[in-house]
């Protein structure tokens, strides 16, 4: 009989049931969307923060301090430089073989040389960098990767364009060097450092940094000019990392101080220090240094963003839970006459409560399922609008949403049921 009454109530009072279902669907879709976005926000913002460029710099272990120093240069020494001051270009692809290979987003090798650069208005001593502009690479694991400066210097303001992928002589020239040499896009310049080379300016860039005085040429060209075949002086790496914690900081000081268990945890977490450690493992003679300006700030901003989304999610879910349980209360109250009638024909208060609860539960469950599906859609809309990529659906969300729907329904029905239990059937029926 209970079933027949339930069916009757659900089917014949469609409008009323629909209101609850619809509202619960809205609430569940909100919960789904917020939870999904919240759980994925870390990865998404991390991707965005790649705009700040490399967070790891890989340099030879025995790099001479002086060449790295401000203004000081050891010109002429390049030709007979010891190979241990450089990294081998053919080892770069190994970056994609480390444990966290998937987190390595982009990387570019640089070969730094000092050279005499000549243009129409004269000859200047300048830093020349051999680099990958836009490189296609097949890794030892059989993957293929597209990477290079194009992806790592997104803040450059460029007049002209990046050199084409296989252009052997296309160059990017810093704005202040370009004005000193009097060159513009399409002009030829000659570069001399041991050997003589020629490049064609493909683009002039403003970076707002010291690079504005430098010249960037394709890596093979720089290697040829300097005679440093197959060698690079550093590799910039952009990796997705987990914000540092105590463990990561201790490991960064000295990985050997960790216990076996801690070491495993550290090694298998995408801390910047563990990624750096793994890079040092695969590339011989290399030291991977976290670029703190990027790495530290990334961590700070990621944590703030995640906390912000977490709080927003929790608070807005609490509010909508309140709002929905309030609505459930209102809609149960609306039915006081009908419930009074049931009590008048002999139903006990608990039977009536059960009926109301069951009815509301069925309505809200239907709404919850519909809302979950709609929420997935919402999350995708948010993902595509804001980040231009899909938000991953997390497995934890459906049980969480189900729990919320259940809790909200019960919480909403309770005050109403208490109110109904206190009704006297005679009063309800006489409309007093």
């Amino acid at each position: 009989m209970i079933c027949r009454m339930l069916m009757g109530a659900l089917l014949r009072q469609r409008g009323r049931v629909l209101t609850i279902t619809l509202t619960m669907a809205l609430g569940a879709s909100l919960a789904t969307a917020m939870l999904n976005v919240m759980m994925d926000i870390g990865d998404k913002v991390n991707q965005e923060l790649k705009a700040y460029g490399a967070n790891l710099s890989v340099v030879p272990k025995s790099v001479s301090l002086i060449s790295d120093l401000y203004g000081a240069s050891d010109d002429g020494a390049q030709e007979n430089a010891a190979p241990e001051k450089y990294l081998a270009e053919d080892e770069i692809a190994k970056l994609k073989t480390i444990f966290w290979a998937f987190n390595i987003v982009d990387f570019t090798p640089y070969l730094q040389i000092s050279a005499k650069v000549s243009g129409p208005s004269g000859t200047v001593e300048a830093q020349v960098w051999g680099a990958w502009f836009d490189k296609h690479l097949d890794t030892p694991t059989g993957e293929s990767v597209d990477t290079g400066m194009v992806r790592m210097k997104s803040w450059w303001d460029i007049e002209g364009a990046w050199p084409a992928r296989d252009d052997p002589s296309g160059a990017m020239i810093g704005a202040s060097l370009a004005s000193k040499l009097g060159v513009k896009q399409g002009d030829r310049i000659s570069v001399a450092a041991g050997h003589l080379g020629e490049a064609v300016v493909s683009g002039v860039f403003h970076s707002g940094g010291s690079e504005d005085d430098d010249l960037f040429v394709p890596l093979p060209l720089a290697q040829e000019i300097s005679g440093l075949r197959g060698l690079v002086s550093k590799i910039d790496v952009s990796a997705l990392t987990t914000p540092e914690n105590d463990l990561a900081r201790r490991a960064a000081q000295d990985p050997n101080s960790l216990s076996r268990h801690e070491w495993d945890t550290w090694y298998c977490t995408a801390y910047i220090s563990s990624i750096a450690y793994q890079i040092e493992e695969v590339i011989s003679n290399a030291r991977a240094k976290p670029v703190l300006q990027v790495a530290e700030s990334e961590g700070a901003i990621l944590q703030k963003t995640q906390l912000l989304m977490l709080l927003l999610t929790v608070l807005s879910l609490a509010c909508s839970a309140l709002a929905i349980s309030n609505l459930v209360t209102a809609s149960v109250m609306e039915r006081s006459a009908e419930i009074g009638l049931l009590e008048a024909v002999g139903a006990s208060a608990s039977e009536v409560s059960f009926l109301v609860l069951a009815e509301t539960m069925i309505a809200t469950l239907a709404g919850g399922v519909a809302g979950y599906l709609a929420g997935r859609g919402f999350a995708q809309i948010i993902g595509h609008t804001v980040f231009g990529s899909a938000i991953a659906a997390k497995g934890l969300v459906p049980p969480l949403v189900a729990l919320l729907v259940f809790a909200v329904t019960v919480a909403g029905s309770l005050p109403a049921i208490r109110l109904l239990a206190s009704l006297r059937p005679a009063e309800v029926l006489h409309g007093r």
Binding site: G53, V291, L307
Partner: protein, 378 residues
Amino acid sequence: MTRRRMFFKMLTYSLLRRRSRMTVALLSVAIGATVLLGMAAVSYDIPRQMGREFRSYGANMIFVASGEEALLRVDAAQRAAALIPPDELIGLTPYRYGIVRVNMQGYTAVGTDFDQAAKTSPYWSIAGEYPKAGGEILIGADVAEFTKLAPGSSMTVTGRAEDGTRFRLDAKISGTVRTGSVEDGFIFMPMPTLESLMGSSGVAEVVEVSIAADETELKRIVSEISREVPEISPRLVKRVTQSETTVLSKLQALVFLVSLVVLVLTMICVATTMMTVVLERRKEIGLKKALGADNRRIAAEFLGEGLFLGSAGGALGAVFGYMFAQAISMNVFGRAVTIDWRLPLLAVLISIAVTIAACLLPVRRAMDVEPALVLRGE
């Protein structure tokens, strides 16, 4: 008794004597307004708050000397800094470079103001302490490794002053700095120390400035400084400003979109609750029509109720919404939220509008029903 008083009497008693219903309705409006104000305040304040967090990326503007000059005057930089709104200026750090030798090995010595450096470059990882006294220095991590010197030990720095005379400084290493880039190879010392070694003062190669402002504001500051202080040429650090604009605008869009979704859903919730509460009174509407009330009169009564519920719930919600935004701001950023005084006003107005709309919709539907049907049909 005037009719107006009767109107208010009916209104008051409808609210007072139907307490449980009205509590439900008031609560729903209050929740709606809480979310409304909370979300609006958060999306309004986040870009500013988040912008401050982004200052951890370091200086977003540098001053260099204009023209062919290599050095700029620090007092000119101070004049330029005075043009930046004080609440936006996070830090201003001058850097002056010199060549020094330690054990015949050449290094770059940098003179700076460490108090300011800690503000413009918060990412510097310091082992030990910043130099305090004149004879103390801070060395880069690579220098420390190369020289095998640790904080607390001393280092003899030699070199030539600008006029060619030799100098020698026995300095105490107060700490090491690690950044992962060029700073790791530098030797830092307080500006007066470097100045006394070099034999000239009041100049710097570059001044780093960290300003909590968006790109438009930064560009305005750049053009103002170029105009007012011509001997200085301010430059934006594109890598920082450009990237901040990209990331921040996405974050802002995210918070905005999320707020919008939450808002729409909450408002629908409020509207449905109001409708449910009003729909319960179909019989009352029918009775009033049977007694000869015209549609306008009935609408006015519900309008009055809606106005009250909307403004009371809205005001209540504005208070809670402020707490909502404050809780988020304090927990995430550790700073109090700033709320534009118009926001609470707007929240109350929107609450009133939504409540009234949600009241009148079902009332209109009930009024369209002929009074007789309402009376007879239970």
